[in-house]
C-alpha cells in the first residue's frame, strides 16, 4: 500500500531535538569556561540545575498532566543549563531545586509545555530566585570552589559605583570581561566563550543574527548616552553581566521571541534599551533578565502587529 499525503514529500530532517542540541553545543564553551573559572561550584550547580529541571518535567508530565514524556526534545536540559548559567556558583542546592521547580513548573508546564510558554522559563526561575533569595543570589564568588569561597563585586556593580562617583573605584579591565576573569553568574562571565557559542549557532542556522545584533547595538548606543558618553563603559556594559548570555542565548529563545526579522529587530532594540535603563537608573545593577521578561510579554503584540517584508507588496 502506498502512502499518500500532500506535498512537500521531503523534509529538511531538522527536528526540535536537533535544534535544542545545537543550543546545548552552543552553550558548551561558556560552560567549560565556567568549570575552569569556578571549579567544583560550577559543576555542582549545573548538574543540580539540569537534574532538577529534568526531574520536575518528568514528574509533571507523568503525574500531573498524564501525557507522554517530553524529555526527548531536550528542552528541559537547555532550561536547566540556562538556569545554572544565571545563578552564582555557590548557590545552595535547595535553592536551585526551587528555581528549577519555578522555571519548569510555572515558567513552562503551567502554560502547556514546550511552545506554549510566554516567558523564558529559565529567566522566570532566575528572577523568582533573585527576588526570593536576594542575598544568596547576589553573592558572587570570584574564585573556584563551591563552599566557603571568596566573594566580591561584579564588574557591573563596579561600573555602577564608578558612575555614581564612589571614591577609589576602578573600572574593570576590558580584557578580564572578555575572557571571563571576573565575578558573576557562572555562565555569564566569559563574553568570548558566549560569542563563540553564538557564532556556532549562527553558522548552524539555529538562530538568526537579528536579535543578538539588535540588542548589542541598541545597548551600546544607550549605554554610551546614559553612562556619560564614555565608549569604554559602553563596551564594558556589553561585555559584563548577563548582556552576552542574554543577547545570544536567552533573548533568542524560540518560544518567547517574536517570529520575523522586523519584529525581532524591534524586540532586540527594546531589550537593549530596557537593560541599560534598568542598569543605570534601576535598583538592581543587572537588568538583562527583567528586560527580556518584559519584552517576552510584548512578543504576542509584536507578532500581531509587525509583519515581515512581503513579496510583491509595494509600500504606499
Amino acid at each position: 500500500m502506498l502512502n499518500v499525503s500532500l506535498s512537500p514529500h521531503v523534509h529538511s530532517g531538522n527536528s526540535t531535538q536537533k535544534c535544542m542540541l545545537q543550543v546545548l553545543i552552543g552553550l558548551c564553551p561558556a560552560l567549560l569556561w565556567s568549570f575552569y573559572q569556578f571549579g567544583s561550584g560550577a559543576v555542582i550547580v549545573t548538574l543540580a540545575s539540569v537534574a532538577f529541571c529534568v526531574l520536575f518535567e518528568f514528574l509533571i508530565t507523568r503525574f500531573l498532566l498524564k501525557t507522554p514524556s517530553t524529555l526527548g526534545d531536550l528542552s528541559a536540559i537547555v532550561t536547566g543549563v540556562l538556569l545554572a548559567f544565571n545563578v552564582p556558583s555557590n548557590l545552595p542546592i535547595w535553592i536551585i531545586a526551587i528555581g528549577a521547580l519555578v522555571a519548569i513548573g510555572v515558567g513552562k508546564m503551567a502554560f502547556g509545555g514546550l511552545g506554549c510558554n510566554i516567558f523564558n522559563p529559565a529567566l522566570v526561575g532566575r528572577v523568582f530566585l533573585l527576588i526570593a533569595y536576594p542575598v544568596q543570589m547576589t553573592t558572587w564568588p570570584t574564585q573556584a570552589g563551591y563552599a566557603d569561597v571568596e566573594t566580591g563585586a561584579t564588574p557591573l556593580a563596579l561600573i555602577g559605583q564608578y558612575i555614581n562617583g564612589v571614591a577609589n573605584v576602578q573600572l574593570p579591565e576590558i580584557m578580564d570581561c572578555l575572557v571571563g576573569q571576573t565575578g558573576g553568574s557562572l555562565g555569564e562571565v566569559s563574553a568570548c566563550a558566549l560569542i563563540l557559542g553564538g557564532i556556532y549557532m549562527l553558522v548552524r542556522k539555529t538562530i538568526t543574527w537579528h536579535i543578538p545584533v539588535a540588542i548589542l547595538v541598541s545597548a551600546f548606543v544607550f549605554a554610551f548616552l546614559f553612562f556619560g558618553f564614555d565608549a569604554t563603559i559602553a563596551v564594558e556594559e556589553l561585555l559584563c553581566g548577563g548582556m552576552m548570555l542574554g543577547a545570544i542565548f536567552m533573548a533568542t529563545d524560540y518560544v518567547s521571541s517574536p517570529m520575523n526579522n522586523r519584529s525581532q529587530l524591534i524586540y532586540g532594540c527594546c531589550i537593549g534599551f530596557l537593560t541599560i535603563v534598568i542598569r543605570r537608573y534601576g535598583a538592581y545593577p543587572e537588568g538583562m533578565s527583567f528586560a527580556i521578561l518584559i519584552m517576552n510579554a510584548f512578543t504576542p503584540l509584536l507578532n500581531k502587529y509587525v509583519k515581515p517584508t512581503r513579496f510583491g507588496v509595494v509600500k504606499k
Binding site: 500500500m1 502512502n3 499518500v4 499525503s5
Partner: protein, 339 residues
C-alpha cells in the same frame, strides 16, 4: 485632617470624571435594540451552535423579531436545539401562533466499515477529513464514503457523534443529537444528512435510510465496498409509496414519503439500506418469510422433481409462513391509524 480632605477630594474628582466619561461614551455609542430581541434570546438555548442558520442565538432572536415585523409569522425559522417547545415560547412572546416542526437528527450515510471497505492506500497528512479529501480520492476504493478522521466529531458541540473504533465510522447518539447540522457541514464528502427522526409517528423512532452515497457504477462500487449501494433499483421496485429514487447509481429514500415498512431493507442485496430498531424487527420477519418462501419454492421444486415420493414436509416452515402475513398486515393498519 488635611490629608483626609485631599484624599476625599481627589477620589471624588476621579470618580466624577470617570462617571462623566462613562456616561458620555454610553451616550455617544448607544445602539438601539428592540427589547424583544433580548426577550427572545433569553428563551433560546444559548448554545450558539448555528443550527438555525444564524451565527448564534442572538442572530436567531434578531431574525425572529424581524420576521414577526415583516411577515407576522416565524416562517421557516426554527431552533433545532430547543425544538418545538422553545419555538412555541418564542412565538407566544412575539404574540404569534406556534408552528411545529418534526424533530430531526443527523444520519450517517456510509456503512463501509473496515471489513467491508478494504484499504488500498494510507493517508499520511494532517489528521482531518477535509485535508484527506483534498489530497486524494481516499484510502479505500470508494471515493464517496466516510473518510473516518472525525471532522464531524470535532464539529459537534453536543457530544452527540463519536467514532466507533471497531467500524471506523461515526455514530450518532440519538439522545444527544439536536440536528444543528454542524457535522453535515463539516463532512467534506457530504455523507451526513439531517433527516426526520422518525418517518412515522411512533413512540420509538422509525427511520429508514440508504447508508451509502457511492455514485460509482454497481460493479465498481461493489468492488470497493461490500456494503455499497449498487444502484440495482430493487428497493425502488419494492417500495409501495414511491419514496425511493435511484439516481447516479445510488438510491435515496425521501423521508416525507417513506412509511418505514421495511420492505426495501429486506430487499437490498448489499445491506446498504439501514433502519432503526423497531423497523428492523419487522424486517427480520420479512426476511424470515422470504427465506421460508424460498425454502418452500425449493421444496416444491424438489417435490415436482420427485413426484412419486411422498413429501415429509418440515412442520416449522408452514408455521413461520403463517405468522408472517399477520405481521405484514399489522403494519399498514398501524400506518392508517397513524395517519
Amino acid at each position: 485632617m488635611n490629608v483626609i480632605l485631599i484624599a476625599l477630594i481627589a477620589l471624588g474628582a476621579i470618580g466624577l470624571i470617570g462617571s462623566l466619561l462613562l456616561y458620555l461614551v454610553a451616550k455617544q455609542f448607544y445602539v438601539y435594540e428592540d427589547p424583544r430581541v433580548g426577550q427572545v434570546e433569553e428563551l433560546l438555548p444559548g448554545a450558539n451552535c448555528g443550527g438555525c442558520g444564524f451565527p448564534g442565538c442572538h442572530g436567531m432572536a434578531d431574525a425572529c423579531v424581524k420576521a414577526k415585523d415583516a411577515t407576522n409569522s416565524l416562517g421557516t425559522l426554527f431552533c433545532p436545539v430547543g425544538g418545538n417547545d422553545v419555538m412555541a415560547n418564542v412565538a407566544s412572546t412575539l404574540g404569534l401562533e406556534a408552528g411545529s416542526a418534526e424533530p430531526k437528527l443527523a444520519v450517517v450515510r456510509c456503512n463501509g466499515n473496515i471489513c467491508a471497505r478494504p484499504k488500498v492506500a494510507v493517508f499520511d497528512g494532517a489528521k482531518s477529513c477535509a485535508v484527506a479529501a483534498a489530497t486524494f480520492s481516499g484510502e479505500t476504493g470508494c471515493a464517496f464514503g466516510c473518510v473516518g478522521l472525525g471532522d464531524c466529531v470535532k464539529s459537534c458541540q453536543f457530544d452527540a457523534i463519536h467514532m466507533n473504533v471497531e467500524t471506523g465510522l461515526p455514530e450518532v447518539d440519538e439522545t444527544k443529537c439536536v440536528a444543528c447540522g454542524a457535522c453535515a457541514k463539516a463532512c467534506p464528502k457530504f455523507v451526513i444528512e439531517i433527516r426526520k427522526k422518525s418517518s412515522m409517528k411512533s413512540p420509538t423512532p422509525k427511520r429508514v435510510w440508504v447508508s451509502c452515497v457511492n455514485k460509482d457504477k454497481g460493479a465498481v462500487a461493489r468492488k470497493a465496498c461490500a456494503s455499497a449501494c449498487i444502484g440495482c433499483g430493487k428497493c425502488q421496485k419494492v417500495c409501495k409509496f414511491e419514496a425511493i429514487t435511484v439516481e447516479n447509481n445510488v438510491a435515496f429514500i425521501d423521508n416525507e414519503k417513506c412509511k418505514a415498512c421495511g420492505m426495501c431493507v429486506s430487499e437490498c442485496p448489499t445491506g446498504a439500506i439501514h433502519a432503526t430498531e423497531p423497523v428492523m424487527i419487522v424486517v427480520e420477519k420479512l426476511k424470515a418469510k422470504k427465506a421460508a418462501d424460498a425454502a418452500k419454492a425449493k421444496e416444491e421444486a424438489a417435490k415436482k422433481a420427485a413426484e412419486a415420493q411422498a413429501a415429509p414436509a418440515a412442520e416449522a416452515v408452514p408455521s413461520d409462513a403463517k405468522a408472517e402475513p399477520t405481521e405484514v398486515k399489522a403494519e399498514p393498519s398501524a400506518k392508517k391509524t397513524a395517519e
